[in-house]
């Protein structure tokens, strides 16, 4: 502190110059766009016309009576709940196994994490082929084992499409909670586990009564992170189904794109799309802020 006070008088504009580039980026390409999105959500605009028509809360009124919006919101909740549940359960199981340091556990860990790094759009396209009714892995496998009656156009059937998309996401991202939980497990002091062992507790009992309670905080952080992350889903759904068939796999992000940018043909409604973006902001922003409070980013150590 002492030295910093001394420096204050000698540094002048230098520190301001250091933050200037970042500040310009943030002002022009983040803060201004956020304001513009909020502004647009109260207007009607096709993206081409020079004038935007102010319609008050008209977009919001329309949105809340739009059945597709409710389907999309329901799918977002379903998607993020099931993806979080699936990835955290599998990730926890894998972390518990690897924490026993079975032979080759580092190799397993690295293998499990790799899909997380892969391009979402490419993995989605690959899984679209796995789900193909004719040459997809699942159906070919079912047919070759005599289970023909279960063969199915997984992505084409409104009843299974959303679930099929979720399975792909769980497959790709289970490695992520695994890494965080593995670090959490490593920080549990050995004496706790040894004491439980001396008392004759079985492994499952140790997990239930010793490990899980001690892992509570890390688990909460992992769940929160996965919920927020998967609520933002766009790539997977866009690449696999475009939100179809018949809007049954629509999520907020894909619906926002469907009503704007002309992907579904005119009219392009940027006001209405911004209104959807605003709703997403209202959901995600506070959730993430609370999460950041939880993990105390400011006190993070490298």
């Amino acid at each position: 502190m002492r030295s910093s006070r001394r420096r204050k008088s000698t540094t002048g504009v230098f520190p301001y110059l250091l933050v200037l580039p970042s500040l310009l980026f943030i002002l022009g390409l983040t803060l201004y766009p956020i304001g513009f999105t909020l502004f647009l959500s109260f207007h009607q605009w096709n993206g081409l016309s020079p004038t935007m028509k102010f319609i008050g809360i008209g977009n919001f009124g329309r949105l809340f009576s739009d059945p597709v919006f409710w389907v999309a919101l329901k799918n977002n909740v379903l998607f993020s709940t099931l993806v979080t549940f699936g990835t955290v359960i599998i990730g926890l199981g894998l972390a518990l196994i690897l924490d026993k340091q079975i032979r080759g556990w580092r190799i397993y860990r690295n293998v499990y994490y790799f899909p997380v790094l892969l391009t979402n759009a490419v993995v989605a396209l690959l899984w679209t082929r796995f789900y193909d009714p004719y040459i997809g892995l699942f159906n070919v496998f079912l047919k070759s084992t005599g289970l023909d009656q279960y063969a199915h156009p997984w992505l084409g059937d409104p009843n299974t499409a959303m679930l099929a998309v979720i399975v792909k996401e769980v497959w790709q991202y289970a490695g992520f909670p695994m890494i965080i939980l593995l670090a959490g497990l490593a920080s549990i002091p050995d004496p706790y586990l040894e004491a439980a062992q001396l008392d004759g507790a079985t492994y499952l009992k140790t997990v239930r009564w010793i490990i899980l309670p001690l892992l509570k905080n890390v688990l909460a952080i992992t769940i929160a992170l996965q919920m927020i992350f998967s609520f933002k889903v766009f790539d997977t759904v866009w690449a696999m189904t475009f939100g179809g068939p018949g809007n049954t796999t629509q999520v907020l992000a894909t619906y926002m794109y469907t009503v704007s940018f002309g992907f579904s043909g005119p009219p392009m409604e940027f006001g209405y799309a911004s209104c959807i973006a605003t709703v997403m902001l209202i959901i995600i922003f506070p959730a993430t802020l609370i999460y950041l409070r939880l993990v105390k980013l400011g006190e993070m150590r490298l």
């Binding site: 250091l18 943030i26 201004y32 396209l125 995600i284 490298l302």
Partner: protein, 281 residues
């Protein structure tokens, strides 16, 4: 009894490893088959005399449906590397200032950056499209790089700030006494010994830029400027008589190879960086 449990753990570990590896193996296996054997013998590897590496050459150069994966790869490499360099550089500068100079303005700025981490891309993507359009930057590299840098900045800056907070000041003090200017101090002493920070920032940002789809899909429409995620989606659902699976698999294989190389080279740093990356939602 104890052994049974151990075998079960191994079995579970192997099972999940299989489910993770097989799809990637399947992708590469299929990319070397001809279209007919992909359809007829879904599971079998290509016969020894029936391997088709030319699939790669065809999708690379645009002989099929004008899909030029080689070009997409180049675009992705340029956009990703330039975005990474710029974002890391200016995030380090800002992070250093926020960590070292105790002024009210900087503590407010820190809070602003923290809050901005919580902003989803969805909330800025429509205006970003129009800003880039008004600047005449649609279908250009800067048109992708500028928004990417701004999206990566808040998180990168706060990581850099945390790094410099825990960074000993003695070196700087000594250099200052020797009469070094603030700028040369930063460029010649502080940044060169900040390699660990550089690595973490690059490793977190690189995959994000490489895989980004939501903005690039609207900011890039010309075939010559497509990045891999955008370009690869061109293989999807072509309304033609016979879908060319061989082409699609080869295209996906090409776009996956750089990530495999990246992972093999940096897996230790990547795994370690995740505990940091975990903060990013």
């Amino acid at each position: 009894m104890k052994n049974v449990g151990k075998y079960m753990l191994h079995a579970a570990a192997i099972f999940w490893a299989f489910t993770q590896i097989y799809p990637i193996f399947f992708l590469f296996m299929s990319s070397l088959k001809d279209n007919r054997s992909i359809i007829v013998n879904v599971f079998s590897p290509p016969g020894l005399l029936n391997i088709h590496p030319e699939n790669y050459a065809i999708v690379w150069s645009g002989e099929y449906q004008r899909i030029t994966v080689g070009r997409y790869l180049l675009n992705s490499a340029i956009v990703t590397s330039v975005s990474t360099v710029i974002s890391v550089m200016i995030a380090m500068m800002a992070g250093y200032a926020l960590a070292r100079y105790y002024k009210r303005f900087f503590s407010i700025l820190s809070d602003v950056f923290l809050a901005l981490i919580a902003i989803p891309v969805h909330a800025v993507v429509i205006p970003l499209f129009f800003i880039i359009n008004n600047l005449g930057l649609l279908n250009t590299y800067p048109g992708l790089i500028l928004p990417y840098v701004s999206l990566a900045l808040p998180f990168s800056i706060l990581i850099a700030k945390a790094f410099f907070r825990s960074f000993p000041k003695e070196v700087e003090e000594a250099a200052r006494i020797d009469g070094a200017s603030e700028w040369s101090l930063l460029m010649r002493i502080v940044f060169p010994i900040s390699r660990p920070l550089l690595a973490v920032l690059a490793i977190i940002n690189f995959p994000f830029f490489w895989n980004e789809l939501m903005f690039s899909i609207v900011a890039v429409t010309s075939n010559d400027m497509k990045t891999l995620p955008v370009g690869i989606l061109a293989f999807r659902g072509r309304p033609e008589a016979e879908p060319r699976w061989d082409m699609m698999f080869a295209g996906m294989a090409i776009s996956t190879i750089p990530l495999i190389i990246f992972y093999v080279l940096f897996q230790r740093q990547i795994i370690r960086g995740i505990s940091v990356g975990a903060v990013k939602a």
